[in-house]
């Protein structure tokens, strides 16, 4: 039995502090402080390039989810709906736009206006709409970084695709030079890319830890703690530091065979974004059954590193392009997600798949009925499909969800008992 590690709970404290500083930096800028900001999207982005110009990366998705987590989303959503956005539009966008037109003030900070609106179009068509709208509301220069979708038999991007993206990155560099008044410091870019590479390495190792039994953390609910610095601070020294600390802490937990719950009774893989306004409630519905997530697709929206990809400082633009083309969940096609989940179920020894379908996000959700069909009929994996929303609090039906989750785990439990007897 290992002694209580001195890293115990440091991870959480660090995360809080780092994110606090990030939001403070954001607020200072919003209140007239120096510096420039670039709006960008989480999935498959060239943050390394943006940071090389000392732009502060601002992520409307992160702002939206933070607003939802603090239960402040509804007034912003309603404001956007008054402006003409539909009840069926993605609620991330509505919350963000509602906030934009309400002074951009949130419980965690004030969001500055952008110096650059950088739309990294990686699969999600809503990204294109979202930033197009922002650019109409505020005259910052907008750049659509067009990243071809993974659409070939091999599941790999074509050489023409990589060239196309790299050339666009070069155009982006030109634009950033114009906006910032600086020329690109190539060595600085390489350094930042190297830091991303190291972060990816650590994140992969952390993810591997959940292959153990018991899993030292919940790869869905606890991943969100780590995702914030991963997405907002990738490419920085402090981010690497955070992941070093996190890895040590989680490794210690793994070796002490402790997990997030007193007893790990079920190992599950979870697909889809979480219901941010009801994260705690949702988590409890699984904890009560001793169900721990050992893998999740949502934790790969910003990047998929567990299958070997690393940012490469020797080929900075090319590896950034590859990350955007292939190594994040949104630019990969729906069947590749099936494959990713299948690998998780097999290699992380999971008992079941839980698909959380969210009304707002059709990229994730449209067609998950077919996904369930594949997993239950072709692979024989017990699968639960439940529905709510990632941002809009009006779509969470607690009683219904509880019933479905309870019924599912009851039957899983029953199956286990039967199998044990046999």
């Amino acid at each position: 039995m290992a002694e209580p590690t001195k890293y115990q709970e440091q991870m959480h404290l660090m995360q809080k502090e780092m994110m606090g500083r990030y939001f403070d930096e954001m607020t200072r800028m919003a209140e007239g402080g120096p510096g420039q900001s670039a709006y960008m999207l989480i999935s498959g982005n060239p943050v390394e390039l943006v940071r090389a110009f000392d732009f502060l990366p601002i992520y409307p998705e992160v702002n939206a989810l933070q607003i939802a987590a603090k239960k402040q989303a509804l007034p912003f959503i309603l404001k956007a709906e008054e402006m003409g956005y539909s009840i069926d539009n993605c609620a991330y966008v509505k919350a963000d736009i509602g906030c934009f037109f309400s002074g951009r003030e949130t419980p965690f900070g004030t969001i500055p206006l952008p110096s650059l609106i950088l739309c990294n179009y990686v699969g999600c068509n809503v990204y294109l709409q979202w930033f197009e709208h922002l650019a109409e509301y505020y005259p910052a220069p907008i750049f659509n970084l067009d990243v071809p979708f993974v659409r070939t038999e091999s599941g790999e991007p074509r050489p023409e695709d990589i060239t196309y993206v790299v050339r666009q990155l070069e155009d982006l560099i030109e634009l950033c030079e114009k906006i910032s008044g600086k020329t690109l410091d190539y060595k600085k870019l390489q350094k930042i890319v190297a830091l991303s590479g190291e972060t990816g390495e650590l994140w992969s190792k952390i993810k591997e830890l959940t292959q153990r039994t018991p899993s030292p953390f919940d790869a869905y609910f606890d991943s969100v703690t780590m995702m914030a610095p991963l997405y907002c601070l990738r490419g920085t020294e402090e981010c690497v530091k955070f992941f070093e600390v996190s890895y040590k802490e989680l490794l210690a937990k793994a070796e002490a065979k402790t997990g997030p719950l007193p007893e790990e009774r079920f190992r599950i893989v979870i697909e889809g974004p979480p219901p941010w306004p009801y994260l705690r409630t949702f988590r409890d519905m699984f904890s009560k059954w001793g169900a721990v997530a050992v893998a999740s697709t949502y934790s790969t929206v910003g990047g998929l590193w567990e299958f070997g990809f690393r940012h490469d400082p020797l080929r900075p633009l090319e590896s950034i392009a590859q990350h955007m083309l292939q190594w994040n969940v949104t630019n990969r096609n729906f069947l590749q997600r099936y494959e990713q989940l299948r690998r998780y179920v097999e290699e992380w020894s999971a008992d079941a798949l839980v698909i959380h379908s969210v009304k707002s996000c059709r990229l994730f959700s449209a067609g998950q009925g077919d996904m369930r069909e594949y997993f239950t009929k072709e692979l024989g994996v017990p699968t639960l499909l439940i529905e709510s929303d990632l941002e809009d609090p009006r779509y969470f039906s607690e009683a219904q969800l509880k019933n479905r989750i309870d019924a599912f785990f009851e039957s899983l439990e029953h199956k286990k008992l039967v199998a044990a007897k046999a």
Partner: protein, 633 residues
């Protein structure tokens, strides 16, 4: 059953409307307009649309049967009785063409007691024909043969409504004689017993059949050459589309009717039918919005539009794959696949218009492994100097996939020829839109829509022939403009509204000067210039010569600018945003359109539809209210 004069007038009007529109698509309101009677008045005489059809059908049969008995009385010669039978039939129907169309086509839409009564009268008429033919004592026919002969005779005498021209074909007596001769003696035999199947016939007709055939063929070939620009040798007949309509003499209404029939054909049947006449050929379905159909055509495959199941399909299986908050077209298209309706479709093209469509491509791939699924990533960084190279490479990739599918190389000549053909069909479509812009009273949106939609279900060569004939036939048309508002319609670029809704919008008081229905099939502002590099020509056309579309995210112009500019250019009064339920891109666009239209003080109305809707009252009354508010401002 005897009718009052008023009732007879209404039935005549109803027959006209049913003949033009088909039973299902005809509206009672239209019939009341046609009859010059109020809707309430119409319902007083005829409680339902089905009742109208019932009365038309039974009345026709009653009259025919009565007259037949009258004229047969006193005629004992068996052959003469056949002639009387045919002449009686033709005389009635040539003077009641609408009734003929309706009775031939529509009684299947009745049910219950109505159906039984009409079927009974049909049976009586059929039995009479059997008796008359039986009287000829042609003992070489068995009972089955006699039955088939009688039904073939009906086929011949019923089908004339599609081609009969009084100035060409003479009166009923002459037609009846000709048909009786044909039926009784066959094509080569004459009534004097002489066979005329040999070149040295001594027929006393002014032109021998051999010469006549040569002349007809010559004319058809000339038309074909005009269309495709080189001698026709590989493509089958032009100037006629299957179904018997000779387009060179068809009226505009008949061409629209033909288009309507084509559009009503399920897409799977179109594929199967085409394959029967093109053994070994491949069919590639194109999901909205834009597909580079020239690439498909150049490969020798048939490109067709797979645009959902409309209101013809129940979604029973696809519901378990795609959630309730996904648009209908994604589900109905999957349903078509899951219910084997696309078994003769060899490949599908999808492209990035929205997230559900993109996921649909994957679901297709998994569920239909025999289909060649292609997903095109069309560029979203318009205006970038990098885009052309990318798009050329993307098109070449797609071309390689097509080559594999059809098993042959696609040459630049193939591509140039295809581009030439589609340039022509698109130019013709643009000309129809020109008519709507300039004189919308002459061409309804519904008619124009049918002409365009038919093109998604037929080879482009045939579509060109249809459009050319329609263009000529339209020239003669002159219509008095009605008091309607001038409208630009937007947001129907993917899932399509039912035709009844489009008609309803117009009837509620709108002239739709422009719309984005089937936009992907009308994608270019002018001709594609192949100029030695046809793939690059297509790519350049996409980047700099294509229509505005919300799914293109061309940041070079603000989103709503094209809409506001268009309204002003066309001097339109208002905008109707007609978006499919759950259509993500349209709903996003609406927020920006609304803002811009408000700022430009352009009145607008937002309506929602689903392809599978059957009830249109609500939408109709919303538009009527909107129109009224505009007319009486």
């Amino acid at each position: 059953m005897k009718h009052t004069k008023r009732e007879a007038e209404v039935l005549k009007a109803a027959a006209a409307v049913f003949a033009a529109r088909g039973f299902h698509q005809a509206s009672v309101r239209e019939i009341s307009n046609e009859a010059g009677i109020s809707l309430a008045g119409l319902y007083y005489y005829f409680p339902s649309k089905a009742d109208l059809l019932f009365r038309i059908a039974t009345s026709a049969f009653d009259v025919i049967l009565e007259k037949l008995e009258e004229t047969l009385a006193g005629v004992s010669d068996p052959e003469e009785r056949v002639r009387v039978f045919i002449q009686n039939h033709l005389e009635f129907f040539l003077n009641h063409m609408n009734e003929m169309k309706v009775v031939t086509r529509e009684p299947g839409f009745l049910d219950g007691e109505f159906r039984e009564i009409v079927a009974e009268k049909q049976r009586r008429y059929y039995v009479r024909s059997i008796e008359i033919l039986g009287g000829l004592n042609a003992t070489h026919w068995s009972a089955e043969g006699l039955r088939a002969s009688a039904l073939s005779l009906f086929g011949m005498i019923n089908w004339i409504f599609t081609w009969y021209r009084p100035e060409k074909d003479g009166d009923a007596k002459r037609m009846a004689d000709q048909m009786a001769d044909l039926f009784l003696y066959g094509f080569v035999q004459h009534k004097n017993g002489v066979r005329h199947g040999r070149p040295n016939s001594d027929e006393n007709a002014s032109v021998s059949t051999v010469q006549a055939a040569a002349v007809i063929q010559q004319n058809l070939l000339k038309e074909q050459e005009k269309i495709s620009g080189h001698p026709s040798c590989t493509r089958p007949r032009a100037g006629e589309i299957s179904g018997g309509t000779n387009m060179s003499t068809a009226s505009f209404e008949e061409l629209i009717e033909r288009a309507r029939q084509i559009v009503a054909t399920p897409v799977g049947e179109v594929a199967s039918e085409w394959k029967r006449s093109h053994p070994g050929g491949k069919v590639v379905g194109c999901f909205p919005v834009y597909s580079p159909v020239e690439l498909i055509h150049a490969s020798g495959a048939l490109p067709i539009g797979v645009i959902g199941g409309g209101n013809q399909i129940e979604i029973a299986h696809a519901d378990s794959r795609f959630q309730s908050f996904v648009c209908s077209i994604v589900k109905s298209t999957l349903e078509l696949g899951l219910t084997e309706k696309l078994k003769d479709v060899d490949g599908m093209f999808f492209q990035s218009i929205c997230d559900p469509a993109r996921n649909l491509a994957s679901v297709f791939k998994r569920n239909f492994p025999k289909m060649a699924i292609e997903y095109l990533h069309l560029p979203q960084n318009m205006g970038s100097p990098r885009v052309e190279e990318y798009l050329v490479a993307e098109y070449r990739r797609v071309l390689n996939g097509l080559q594999e599918l059809v098993g042959r190389t696609i040459t630049d000549q193939d591509l140039e020829r295809s581009i030439g053909l589609y340039n022509r069909s698109r130019a013709l479509v643009r000309s129809f839109y020109e008519v709507r812009r300039k004189s919308p009273e002459r061409l309804s949106t519904a008619e124009c829509y049918l002409l365009v939609r038919a093109g998604t279900l037929m080879p482009v060569e045939e579509h060109i022939a249809l459009l050319e004939a329609a263009r000529v036939a339209l020239d003669g048309r002159s219509v008095k403009p009605k008091d309607r508002i001038r409208v630009v319609l937007e947001c129907s670029f993917c899932e399509q509204p039912p035709l009844e809704l489009i008609e309803g919008l117009e009837e509620a008081g709108c002239y739709l000067l422009d719309d984005d229905f089937l936009l992907g099939w009308r994608w270019f502002l002018g001709d594609i210039v192949a100029d030695g590099d046809p793939v690059r020509g297509l790519a350049r056309g996409y980047l700099d010569g294509s229509v505005y579309s919300g799914v293109k995210h061309d940041l070079r112009t603000p989103k709503a600018k094209h809409l506001v500019d268009k309204v002003r250019e066309m001097k339109a009064d208002a905008v109707v945003i007609l978006a499919a339920k759950f259509c993500e891109p349209a709903l996003f666009d609406y927020a920006l359109y609304r803002k811009a239209l408000d700022e430009a003080s352009i009145p607008h109305l937002a309506l929602e539809f689903e392809e599978k809707m059957w009830v249109f009252d609500k939408a109709r009354s919303e538009v009527e209210t909107f129109v009224e508010s505009m007319l009486f401002e």
